[in-house]
Structure formats: structure tokens, C-alpha cells
């Protein structure tokens, strides 16, 4: 009895210590980030404190602004969920950006066909499915190039990103151009019935938030409790051992890519149906690349991912204030996000070093 008591006691203290370490780690990383960005702001001749205040107020200062944060959060979470599968198997799915774009293209294609049919909900549903298909196909392309073509997924994905981006531009200036004018402002806006339904008073879309939360739950369940999740991990940890065990690494790589592409494609659908209501050249808003940083900063953990995504969405939305108020470029958010990942990597290393010294191991 006493023994047992002791054991649980020590466990709770270590738990407390681990939590404290996390907090310390975060504080250290954030101070590193603030130090670096302050230097950058000073180089650019901008008032640092004021810039931070504008970013904060620009994202959390009012409900309307917060709804913009949510709108950015949804695609970030979707892409990050997809990336969790590919990272689990050890793939660098940089092609996620192009998969978002492809999802948006497929969604737009279906919505163009469905305009005026009189079944808006059905069209919305089908166009989201089309988006997932588009993303999955694009991911499958990169996957096949990796498994059959022997091209590293970073180059395959990146090349396909540029192709997808070129396709969007071609569609907007070519076959899908607005009557009379073709411009960077994108295709014709869809009729209101084809917009993702939103609660007007709150200005948020329960469907979008539901989809993002659903994606998180499905991903957590898939990775933790299903055979597929376990096998992705097995191949990711040791492809050769997995092969000897009877798993075909190539097959699971393709499965991971399809899953990742579907989620990314869905993010593209959300951008079209929920945010822009048309296809624009910058439809992906760089959320694909950004979600790679989200997942890295979340240390590949499903439950930390949405929090990091929320934080990054705040930075993205808040930094839009910078060009409006201080005549600065909004790319400061990207600098902060990148620095944050690097700082986290550095702090993580220091912590593991300290722990090794503490326990006397190497």
C-alpha cells in the first residue's frame, strides 16, 4: 500500500516537473523570438513595442478580427492534420501547398457546374469531396514520384506546387476568366447560396469549425488506435524492419500521401467555399507551407497542433495591421513563425542536454 502511494507520488511530481519544463521551454523560446524580431524591427526602423501591440490587437482586439483568425485557423488545422500522417511515416510533404491549390481548383470546377442547379447543399458537399479528391490526386502524384520514380518527395512536391500555381493563374486568366475582364482579383464570385453557411450574428461558420475539429479527432484516432496508424509509425521508424515484417513501405507511403492530400484538398475547399467564394491566384494563402511549421513547432503532437495553429493564425491576421498602420510589410509574421520553430529546436536540444546531465546519462 505504502509502496503504491510512493509510486504515484513520485509520478505526479515528475509530471509536475515535466510540465514546468515545458513552461520554461516555452518562455525561453518566446523570449528568444522576441529578442530576434525586435532586432529585425529596429533594423527596419520600426517601433517594436507598437508593432507587437498592433499584431495583438489586430488578431484578438475585437470579435470581427477573431473571426478572421478562425477563418485562417481552419485550413491550418486541416493541412496540419494531413501532415501528421506524412511526418509519421517520415515523408517531407512539402507538396501540401500544391495540394491545397488543387483542392481549390477541383472545388471551383464542381461549383461552376453546380451553379443554378437548385441543390446548393448537395453542390457544396460534392465540391468539398471534389476538393479532397483533387488534393489526394496531387499528393498521389508526388507519392508515386517518390516510390516509383525515385525522386525525393521534397523536389516532387515542390515541382508540383509550382505547376498547381501555374494552373490557377492559367484558369483565372484563361478558361475561367470573368466576362470581359481577366484580372488578379480572380474568377466570378459564386452566388450566396453556394457559400459555406455562416451564423450571421457571429460571423463564423459552424460547419468549417466542425470539419476542423472532426479532422483532429479522426487524425488522433487513426494514428493512435488503428492498424494503419501503427503501420505508418512502423515504416517511419524503420522502413527496413517493417519490410522484413511484411509491410510494404511504398504502399504505406502512398496511403499517408493520400490522407495528407485529402485533408489539404479539403482546406482548399474551405478557402473557396468559406472565405473567398471564388478562385483567386493566392487561394492557398501559403497555409500549406505554414502548416509544416505548425506541425514542427507542435512537435508532431495532435493535441498541441490546434493550439499552435491558433497562435500562428493570430500572428498572420494580426500582422495585416502592420502595412495599414505602420507602413511595414506583413511578412513579419513569417519571420516570427520561422524564428519560433528554430528557437524551439534549440531549446529542445538544451533541455535534452540538461536532462542527460541531470540523470547522468549521455
Amino acid at each position: 500500500m505504502v509502496m503504491k502511494q510512493d509510486k504515484t507520488d513520485s509520478r505526479s511530481t515528475t509530471k509536475k516537473r515535466v510540465f514546468l519544463e515545458y513552461v520554461l521551454e516555452a518562455v525561453l523560446a518566446i523570449s528568444l523570438v522576441l529578442a530576434f524580431t525586435t532586432v529585425v524591427l529596429l533594423i527596419a526602423g520600426a517601433p517594436p513595442l507598437q508593432s507587437y501591440v498592433h499584431i495583438f490587437m489586430g488578431s484578438l482586439g475585437s470579435w470581427i478580427r477573431f473571426t478572421h483568425v478562425i477563418k485562417a485557423w481552419i485550413p491550418l488545422v486541416l493541412c496540419s492534420c494531413g501532415l501528421l500522417y506524412t511526418f509519421r511515416i517520415g515523408l517531407w510533404n512539402i507538396g501540401v501547398e500544391g495540394q491545397v491549390v488543387m483542392g481549390a481548383i477541383f472545388t471551383t470546377a464542381l461549383m461552376r457546374m453546380g451553379t443554378g442547379t437548385g441543390y446548393p447543399s448537395l453542390v457544396l458537399l460534392l465540391s468539398c469531396l471534389a476538393g479532397m479528391t483533387g488534393g489526394a490526386l496531387w499528393a498521389l502524384g508526388a507519392g508515386y514520384l517518390r516510390t516509383k520514380g525515385g525522386v525525393h518527395e521534397i523536389f516532387a512536391g515542390l515541382g508540383l506546387n509550382f505547376v498547381a500555381q501555374g494552373m490557377v493563374l492559367w484558369l483565372i486568366f484563361g478558361p475561367w476568366k470573368r466576362a470581359g475582364i481577366a484580372s488578379m482579383s480572380g474568377t466570378e464570385t459564386f452566388e450566396r447560396s453556394l457559400w459555406l453557411p455562416t451564423i450571421e450574428t457571429l460571423r463564423i461558420s459552424p460547419a468549417g469549425i466542425g470539419i476542423a475539429l472532426g479532422a483532429l479527432l479522426i487524425t488522433a484516432w487513426m494514428l493512435r488506435y488503428t492498424n494503419v496508424g501503427l503501420r505508418l509509425k512502423a515504416v517511419g521508424n524503420n522502413a527496413q524492419a517493417a519490410y522484413l515484417f511484411g509491410l510494404r513501405p511504398g504502399k504505406y507511403m502512398l496511403i499517408a500521401m493520400i490522407l495528407a492530400g485529402s485533408f489539404a484538398g479539403l482546406a482548399g475547399s474551405m478557402q473557396v467555399t468559406g472565405v473567398y467564394h471564388r478562385l483567386i491566384p493566392a487561394i492557398s494563402s501559403n497555409y500549406g507551407y505554414l502548416s509544416l511549421l505548425v506541425v514542427m513547432l507542435a512537435n508532431f503532437n495532435v493535441w498541441i497542433t490546434p493550439l499552435v495553429a491558433l497562435f500562428f493564425a493570430c500572428l498572420n491576421v494580426g500582422s495585416i495591421q502592420l502595412p495599414m498602420v505602420l507602413q511595414l510589410d506583413s511578412s513579419l509574421s513569417g519571420v516570427m513563425q520561422g524564428t519560433m520553430v528554430l528557437a524551439a529546436l534549440a531549446v529542445h536540444f538544451i533541455r535534452s542536454r540538461l536532462r542527460a546531465a541531470y540523470t547522468g546519462g549521455t
Binding site: 529585425v40 514520384l145 525522386v151 511595414l328 511578412s331 513569417g334 528554430l342 529546436l345
Partner: protein, 325 residues
């Protein structure tokens, strides 16, 4: 329909290839020592911005080139530091830096967007420029372009004909063995990561001060870093073949301008993204050329074998690996 003047065409290929050539050579040096600097794309843009802004502020293009080189070296040193000292993945750090360096360039550089700035003019080499054809093709360029030409030979000579180059390659192939031979692999990797980074930085400055003068958002150099990374593979980690790849790429780029004039019905976006599927295709060919089944098939077909051989090249064995010596 435009007529093609061969010497002008070749001259513009040599000039246009200069930045991508410098970046490819730099990355080849870095990767030969076992470090992958994936940050090339962002690194080039950041050094292009730094080079342009410093040249604008000081009025000296030399200062601009130095600043660009320093930025390139600094980014490369960050990748190497995170890998060597902090034991983090080179690919992860490189990728983060790609995005971050680009955003940093856009942020700091935005007040200088579309500002008229200094640029390097051509400096023909006396006597040599008078040689028919050859003079026009090679000897009427600006100094960064001459530098890129000289660097091809210099990098090759350094890697394959000097004891330092031997040490550099030994670290990239087998750091533990080099350690046993009294070489400090960490120091060597840091040194050559920075050296390669300096060249990448020069590539950026060459863009903003010479080939695509000026700074803007986008600058026009976006994407070339990735092409350079692919060219290192195309070159089989050999500077001479990498240079050949850079010239082929520049040739296609120049030709696409002519094509655009010939077939106006094809939208411009197709030409803009064309290099990337081409990059994938070439990487597929290279990978196939190394497949055992294909090599066996080619054994009694001398021409095919010779062709395949030109496409094969092995990566430094310790490339991208975390080392513990």
C-alpha cells in the same frame, strides 16, 4: 517571328546562368562536405535584398556583393550550427530558413521596392573581346559573370586537386574515418558550409545588382534556389557537370522567351512553371539511370550505357547525416 543570332543567344545564356551557377557551385561544395543547405531559395532572395540595399545606401556595388555574400554565409552557418552543435535535422532547419529568409527579405526590403539603384555594367576584357564570335560570347560581360566562369574551374580544382579538397570530400564520405585520420569533421563541415553559403550569397547579389537589377516583391529570383538544389543532383555532385546543367537550364530559359514570341497562343503561365516539371522529369531519369535492372539491361548496349553513365553520380555518403564524432 524573331531571328536568332547565335552569339547573342550564347552570350545571354552565359550571363543568365551566372547566379544559378554560383548557387549550384556553392551548394555542391557544401553538400560535398556532408551538409545539405536546403535554405537556398530563401537565402538567395535575402542576399539579393541585402546586396541591393547595401549597394544603394553606400553607393558601392562592391559593398553590396560583400553584404550579399555575408548573408549567404550566415544562413549557411545557421544550418550547419543547428546540425553540428544542436544535433537537429538539416532538412527541417533548412526548410524553416527558406521560408524565414524570404519573409525577412520582404519585410526589411519593402521600403526599397522598385527603387532605382546601382547596378554592375559590362566590363569587356581588352584585346580578348576582339576575337570574332568568342569575344562577343565570353568576353563582354560584367565582372560577376566572369567570376561565375572562373569559379567552375576553381571549385573543381579545389575539390579534386588540392589536399584541402581531399579532406573536404573525405568528411562528406566518411566523417568517422576522417576523424581517425586527424581531421576535425565538425570544423571542416562548418567551414565549407559557410564557403558554399558565401557563393550562394554572391548568387543573390548577382541577381539584384546585375542579372535582374533592382529589388521588388517578388524579386524574380523566387524558385531558382530549388532549381539550383536539383542541379546539384543533376550534376552528380561534380562541379563541372553541375555547371553544364546550369547552362542547359539557362539555355532553356532563354529559349522560352523566343518560344513565347513564336507561339503567343500558349499562355505565359505555362512558360513560367515549365522548369519545374522538367526538373522532376530529369530527376526521374537520373534515378532510373541508377536502377540495377536498367543497368543490367544496358550492359550489351554500349551507347545506352554511355548515356546512362553520364546521368549517374553518387551522393556523398554522409550527406545529411548527423555525426557524433
Amino acid at each position: 517571328m524573331g531571328e536568332i543570332n547565335i552569339s547573342i543567344l550564347l552570350a545571354s545564356v552565359i550571363a543568365g546562368a551566372a547566379p544559378i551557377l554560383l548557387a549550384t557551385l556553392g551548394e555542391t561544395v557544401t553538400e560535398k562536405s556532408g551538409i545539405i543547405n536546403l535554405s537556398l531559395d530563401g537565402s538567395i532572395i535575402l542576399s539579393a535584398m541585402a546586396g541591393f540595399v547595401i549597394a544603394l545606401k553606400t553607393g558601392s556595388v562592391v559593398a553590396g556583393f560583400l553584404a550579399g555574400a555575408m548573408i549567404g554565409g550566415l544562413v549557411a552557418a545557421t544550418v550547419a550550427f543547428f546540425s553540428i552543435s544542436l544535433k537537429q535535422s538539416q532538412v527541417a532547419v533548412g526548410f524553416v530558413l527558406t521560408l524565414m529568409a524570404r519573409d525577412l527579405a520582404y519585410f526589411i526590403g519593402s521600403p526599397y521596392s522598385r527603387v532605382q539603384g546601382p547596378q554592375v555594367g559590362p566590363s569587356p576584357i581588352p584585346f580578348l573581346e576582339g576575337i570574332p564570335y568568342l569575344g562577343e560570347i565570353i568576353f563582354r560581360h560584367s565582372i560577376p559573370v566572369y567570376l561565375s566562369l572562373v569559379m567552375i574551374g576553381l571549385v573543381w580544382w579545389y575539390l579534386y586537386r588540392t589536399p584541402y579538397g581531399l579532406r573536404l570530400r573525405s568528411v562528406g564520405e566518411h566523417p568517422e574515418a576522417s576523424y581517425a585520420r586527424g581531421i576535425n569533421p565538425k570544423r571542416v563541415q562548418m567551414l565549407y558550409a559557410v564557403c558554399g553559403g558565401l557563393l550562394v550569397g554572391l548568387a543573390g547579389a548577382t541577381f539584384s545588382l546585375c542579372i535582374k537589377p533592382g529589388w521588388g516583391q517578388p524579386q524574380g529570383a523566387e524558385g531558382t534556389g530549388w532549381i539550383a538544389l536539383a542541379l546539384v543532383i543533376f550534376g552528380g555532385w561534380n562541379p563541372l557537370r553541375a555547371a553544364l546543367g546550369a547552362y542547359l537550364f539557362a539555355f532553356l530559359q532563354v529559349m522560352s522567351i523566343y518560344f513565347q514570341g513564336w507561339v503567343p497562343s500558349v499562355p505565359a503561365q505555362v512558360f513560367q512553371v515549365a522548369p519545374f516539371p522538367l526538373m522532376i522529369l530529369i530527376l526521374v531519369i537520373i534515378s532510373f539511370a541508377q536502377k540495377e535492372s536498367i543497368l543490367r539491361w544496358s550492359e550489351d548496349r554500349p551507347i545506352v550505357r554511355a548515356l546512362l553513365k553520364t546521368f549517374t553520380g553518387t551522393a556523398p555518403r554522409a550527406l545529411g547525416r548527423q555525426q557524433n564524432t
